[in-house]
């Protein structure tokens, strides 16, 4: 259960780490995730799981391109553009997945769909695939009774860590986020690289949205991400922009959320469920406050040019 919730955060924060390491703060995460969820909902009904996952990645990339153009090439304020993207995603996903519009889209995508599928609010969940042998082990066996996207996240995290810290493209990416002028002087195309990193964050956010819907709660409701994108953003900070540490952080946040569900289940009446539901967000805020302290910032290594547009003339 912890892993299942944590994977939402892990996938979203892995991409965001790349964007922020390149100097781009993608605050549109929440909006891209919710779009990913909506798209995966519609495409699962029309074509099945694989198409749904691919489509949500593509839509995530396209949405992040909006941010890339505005923040990188037009050098607009990243906080404002990112938040605008989130609002846009929340609105558009609600529109596309609303019953009437969804029906039109589904019929356009696949005219042969039976009437029953045109109206339902849910989609088939991604199947769990136990790994032979490993899933039999007590305690840790639960890590190996998951769906395919969870396994992808297991592999993606170390792979992305390796690329970031041990390869040349990774070094270029980190340099661009620290000191774009230095990277530019060494012949690195700052704009292209930042654009690529932003697209990676969009793709992962789209995937995270697809996972949230297909792998965790396959019942559509508007704004079903409920701030999970913002928790992923604070997780990026908590993990000090390191994909490996993001695994721990993701499962920590996942665990907190699971505890909250459980407590509710056991009917701890004294504690209001609203208070418990605030728990993950409170931890996120605490993480943000901690990194806003100047001395902490220096120690954990915030990418020095995060949020600052680059232009060659200045």
């Amino acid at each position: 259960m912890t892993v299942q919730v944590g994977t939402v955060y892990l996938l979203a924060s892995l991409g965001e780490i790349y964007a922020e390491r390149s100097g781009i703060l993608n605050l549109g995460l929440e909006g891209i995730m919710v779009m990913g969820a909506a798209i995966s909902f519609i495409f699962t009904l029309a074509y099945g799981h694989l198409a749904a996952i691919l489509a949500s990645i593509i839509v995530g990339i396209l949405m992040s391109l909006i941010l890339a153009v505005m923040a990188i090439y037009m050098r607009l304020n990243q906080t404002v553009t990112g938040l605008a993207l989130t609002m846009f995603g929340l609105g558009l996903s609600g529109f596309l997945a609303s019953p009437e519009i969804r029906r039109i889209i589904l019929l356009a995508l696949n005219p042969s769909l039976p009437e029953r599928l045109l109206a339902i609010q849910e989609a088939p969940k991604l199947p769990e695939i136990p790994v032979p042998g490993l899933s039999e082990i007590p305690v840790i066996g639960c890590f190996f009774r998951q769906n395919v996207l969870v396994y992808i996240s297991y592999m993606a995290a170390p792979l992305m860590w390796f690329i970031l810290f041990k390869t040349k493209p990774g070094l270029s990416l980190r340099s661009v986020g620290e000191n774009p002028a230095a990277a530019d002087a060494m012949g690195i195309n700052v704009f292209k690289l930042r654009c690529a990193a932003t697209m990676i964050s969009g793709g992962f956010a789209g995937l995270a949205g697809a996972y949230l819907f297909l792998g965790f709660q396959p019942f559509w409701q508007e704004g079903l991400t409920a701030g999970k994108g913002f928790i992923a953003l604070s997780l990026v900070i908590l993990s000090t922009w390191n994909p490996l540490k993001a695994i721990l952080g993701a499962y920590l946040f996942g665990g907190v959320e699971v505890i909250q569900y459980r407590l509710q289940l056991f009917g701890l009446g004294a504690l209001s469920p609203y208070l418990l539901a605030m728990l993950p967000y409170l931890i996120a805020i605490a993480a943000l406050i901690a990194v806003s302290i100047e001395s902490v910032r220096k120690r954990i290594g915030v990418p020095a040019s995060l949020g600052i547009p680059y232009s060659r003339e200045e």
Binding site: T167, K168, L171, R174, E178, N179, M186, G187, I188, E294
Partner: protein
Amino acid sequence: METLVELRGIVKKFPGVLANDRVDFELRRGEVHALLGENGAGKTTLMNILYGLYRPDEGEIYIRGRRVELRSPRDAISLGIGMVHQNFKLVESHTVLENIILGLRENGLRIDFESHRRRITELAERYGWRIDPMARIWQLSAGEKQQVELLKILYRGAEILILDEPTSVLTVQETRRLFEALRRMAAEGKGVIFITHKLNEVMEVSDRVTVMRKGKVIITKDTRETTKMELANYMIGRQVIFGRREASSKPGAVVLKILDLKVLGDRGYPAVNGVSLEVRSGEILGVAGVSGNGQVELAEAIAGLRKPMAGRILLNGVDATGMDAGKMIELGVAYIPPEGNKLGIVPEFRIVDNLFLKAYRYPPYSNKILLNWRRMLGKARELIEEFGVVTPSVFSKAKSLSGGNIQRLILARELSGIVGGAPRLIVAAYPTKGLDVGATEFVHDLLMRYKEMGSGIIFISEDLEELLLLSDRIAVMSGGRIRGVLAREEADAEKIGLLMSEAAIQAG
């Protein structure tokens, strides 16, 4: 000897400026070629064209006799051109090795840290440098950072090296070491272009010198066949007087007394660590030292912009420790901040607004509620006249001014005092940095004039020449401490440099 670089008829226009006007330039194999000129003469623009950062509007570039198009630094690097910029372009939080191999074009995606480490160490040793490739950039001194910059381009096999004002952050001893390394590179058959506005350095290190003024090349000469005086005349276009200025006034009462002052820097460590100083009226106290050794923090503490953590500041005998900037202004402190264009003006405000950033709160420029615009405008026109701010009107935005004029504006505001009369204490932090010879002379004259009018002056600078020219006493600062105070009679560049580096050795 083979010609490495030839620039023919280079023209580069920026909005409103002709930065390069049909410039010809040539670099030969095995020479150190100085490119001399004042700020704004177009030296850096020309070199940025050679490095592919700017594209020329007209003109041709030949590298080793072949005509080339340089679209980006990448093109330049692949032709064996490397540039060390005036402001280091290093990623502070990364290691030396990571900075050096950044953007390297090589097969494979993985980085072979071990072999790079070995090759970098070997290369550094060739020039007598000892550098740990695994050290992080922020741990290095300015001199070492520059070595990393040079290693960065040498590692790519560059043989056309461009250095833009490389000595501005170095101590005398570090400069000497750099020059030795440059001579060795030239002896190996590389070509070195050395951008500077310091005549001494041209004479010391270069084989040939090209002088630029207002976007044009004035002359190219063998260094052996010219003199400092001749070069200065080419550079300025008129006669310049070198020499110490004598003032008739004698130092008076103590204006500022600092006792064991400790001030925190931005990183949370003490930047000023137990400084005691005294400045008398009618005296200029020079503060020498490589920048970043606590000078700015000291100045900001005196100006009331930074709260001291320990120690005392006495102004005319009044304890002013921990007072804010407003109080300090009322006590007669004028502050000329470093990087005037960033810290000294509000760029979007008009000139008249900037001139009255301090005085608007006091009569006769305002009563309790209303500003007296008529009076302010009148005074503003007087001030821009007196301080020679060149501008179409007092209503122009401050950001439209050139660097020299911005500095004049700041001086006009600070030195005119809040309600007239000379300030009692002037704290000038790098007031001539980045200014050309004309504007520098103006600042020097002004400081001398206020000294004679009885102001006490703290004059922080990295330029030993001007410190020796103006100061009555010179305090040498390093590592947040005063390492010694020399009277002008006994001070010279050698002694000051020694005080700086001795301290560095003591500090380990």
